[in-house]
């Protein structure tokens, strides 16, 4: 721990003198806002989400069609009707970036949520039951962590869904590639949450309130979900927020390699697929999508870092 600066001490004294009792939520919010990078990231991400959601409005305002291929207007420089120019197929870059934002953010959030749910359930089971189940689940987790994930994902992404026996309507729908990538990422992304929840559950299950619930005859699922889960929520939130950046990155890599989100559905990754050929005559097209991925991923990482500092209970007790 660093020595608190004198003026920080004074401020703490002053807060005490005021006698203003603060709720945990207020403390958390104050600590979070103080983390300027994290707060700035949150603002950026909210603005980005709003802009992406407004993609159809922008499309209408500019009077362009984001999916219309117009080879006569390919690789145009920025103009009034195309603020960021057009891509190699003559589509408006700004509109496609915004629609791509919808896809990338949706994949990031959905996959992180699914992974968090899987990880939480496995972590609760391993931590609460312990013993052989714990050993088995944690070995399994170690195995998944050690796997070379990208090559495996490439194979999984190349699988012919007709051979797995999924309903035809699902396979041929336009967003099939979206569901597939959410599923694949969740399949490998749950390990961090599982370990954290297991650790927290191990320490929670020896607490008096859990013992009391057991003595009163509460069922195991009830103890895990009602008594333990609410107490292990903050590490789950932190780990999940931190994982979103990685997922956005993974989605962009797979889409870039042609195995993630399938065109014409735009994602920031698949907008860069042809970037390598374009760097000679239209380098700007290779810049924008990557810049957005970079900004989004770093914002989620800052946000997670800020949440981690703000939600750390050790620091919380030290402060008040």
């Amino acid at each position: 721990m660093t020595q608190p600066a004198p003026d920080g001490l004074l401020a703490a004294e002053a807060a005490h003198a005021h006698g203003a009792a603060q709720s945990v939520r207020q403390i958390f919010w104050r600590r979070f806002v103080r983390h300027r990078l994290a707060f700035g990231s949150l603002v950026f991400l909210v603005l980005l989400a709003l802009a992406s959601a407004a993609a159809p409005l922008v499309e209408a305002a500019l009077d362009v069609d984001g999916n219309l291929v117009d080879l006569f207007n390919a690789k145009q420089p920025p103009s009034a009707s195309h603020p960021l120019g057009t891509d190699d197929l003559g589509r408006d870059v700004l509109v496609r970036l915004l629609y791509g934002g919808q896809v990338s953010l949706a994949v990031g959030l959905a996959a992180a949520l699914c992974a968090a749910i899987i990880g939480t359930l496995l972590g609760l089971l391993a931590g609460y039951y312990g013993g052989r189940l714990d050993g088995l689940l944690m070995r399994f987790t170690d195995g998944v962590i050690a796997m070379p994930i990208l090559p495996l994902l490439i194979i999984l992404a190349a699988i012919d869904l007709n051979k797995v026996g999924l309903p035809q309507a699902l396979i041929t729908s336009e967003s099939a590639s979206l569901y597939r990538i959410v599923f694949l990422v969740a399949l490998f992304g749950w390990t961090t949450v599982a370990r954290l929840v297991r650790g927290a559950t191990l320490s929670m299950k020896t607490r008096e309130f859990v013992r009391a619930a057991e003595a009163l005859g509460a069922s195991a699922p009830r103890i895990m979900l009602v008594h333990i889960l609410p107490n292990v929520v903050s590490p789950i939130i932190v780990a999940t927020t931190l994982s979103i950046g990685g997922i956005v990155l993974l989605e962009s890599v797979l889409s870039f390699l042609g195995l993630g989100i399938q065109p014409p559905l735009p994602s920031w990754g698949n907008m860069l697929t042809s970037a390598q050929e374009l760097i000679w005559d239209a380098p700007a097209l290779a810049i924008y999508p990557g810049l957005l991925i970079f900004a989004t991923v770093i914002a989620f990482n800052f946000l997670g870092d800020g949440l981690q500092d703000a939600l750390d209970p050790r620091a919380l007790q030290g402060e008040e």
Binding site: A146, P151, S252, A275, I279
Partner: protein, 315 residues
């Protein structure tokens, strides 16, 4: 120690065996099968011919018996022929594994050489401007899309400045000229790796600096440098080594992207090309080699652990 080592080896081979079955089954789910490809290339083939070929290649057998047959061959070192290259699979993969080891090895050592001092330096001055700057760089390294970074490097060094080749392997005539092809891939992979290691190192060093023995060492009059080198570095390395071993899979993923963009003939690019080109034997053997590499890295990390921390003895 020996019994621990043998147990871990047996465990690793068990994991490898399970992975091989899993990957074998998954590859069977990829679009088309070898006979479909033959039918495409030879329009005169009849359905009866196709069935006969399926029987010859054993493709009409159930999955498990096909897997066992493959496993039997594989154990004798026979991983079949590559469809794309018309060579035995291992003849393709082994030289490329060598290329990847060169790429990954140099990048990893460079990343360590930058990240360890940077992480410790930041940890000794928490919340200082230098710490913030190092932290920012580390976050940027973790967050930058590796393929985009590679493209930016190509735009800067190959297109704009014209200093370095944009990709490829060199023609093998001049050894040092060929090494110029390695510079950009190594740079890209190092930048993609270094951020994570800096953050781990910084966190571990901060934790170690809080320990009583560090205060004792300072109290008995050792200089800051002596304390860092003699007391902090080795202890802070412990958690970092574990994480680094787990990062091997990540490093391999990074290598795949880097190789793909720079047309560097390594394992990652070979696996990718094999999956895209329906070259089942190469894809299967390549993935297993990649898995084996990460398992061995984990084992090495465990051994490094007991070397760094003599309190841990493996019984």
């Amino acid at each position: 120690m020996l019994s621990y080592l043998s147990r871990r080896l047996i465990e690793s081979f068990l994991v490898l065996a399970i992975m091989s079955l899993l990957i074998y089954a998954l590859i069977g789910l990829m679009p088309g099968d070898p006979i479909d490809i033959m039918i495409f290339s030879n329009p005169e083939m009849t359905t009866a011919d196709a069935e006969r070929l399926r029987a010859i290649y054993g493709l009409d057998q159930p999955l498990l018996s096909r897997y066992l047959a493959w496993l039997g061959d594989a154990l004798t070192g026979d991983f079949g022929y590559s469809r794309l290259y018309n060579q035995p699979t291992l003849d393709i993969l082994l030289p490329r594994l060598g290329n990847t080891v060169v790429l990954m090895g140099i990048s990893f050592i460079l990343a360590l050489a930058i990240a360890l001092p940077a992480g410790i330096y930041a940890a000794t001055r928490p919340q200082s401007p230098v710490d913030h700057a190092i932290n920012l760089i580390a976050f940027a390294g973790i967050s930058v899309p590796p393929f985009w970074l590679a493209i930016l490097l190509i735009i800067l060094f190959a297109v704009t400045l014209g200093w370095l080749p944009a990709g490829g392997m060199g023609d093998g005539r001049d050894f040092w000229a060929d090494q110029r092809h390695l510079v950009l891939p190594v740079l890209a992979l190092t930048i993609a790796t270094v951020g994570g290691i800096i953050r781990f190192m910084r966190a571990a060093a901060i934790e170690t600096l809080r320990q009583d023995y560090v205060r004792t060492a300072l109290a008995k009059g050792l200089s800051g440098r002596q304390v860092i080198v003699g007391h902090v570095l080795r202890n802070a390395m412990l958690p970092v080594v574990t994480i680094l071993a787990l990062q091997m899979g990540n490093l391999f993923s990074g290598a795949l992207i880097t190789e793909q963009i720079f047309a560097y003939l390594g394992m990652g690019k070979t696996i990718y090309d094999a999956v895209i080109g329906n070259d089942y034997n190469v894809a299967l053997a390549g993935l297993l080699l990649a898995t084996l590499t990460t398992l061995l890295a984990n084992l090495l990390a465990d051994l490094a652990y007991s070397w760094l921390d003599p309190r841990i003895s493996y019984q």
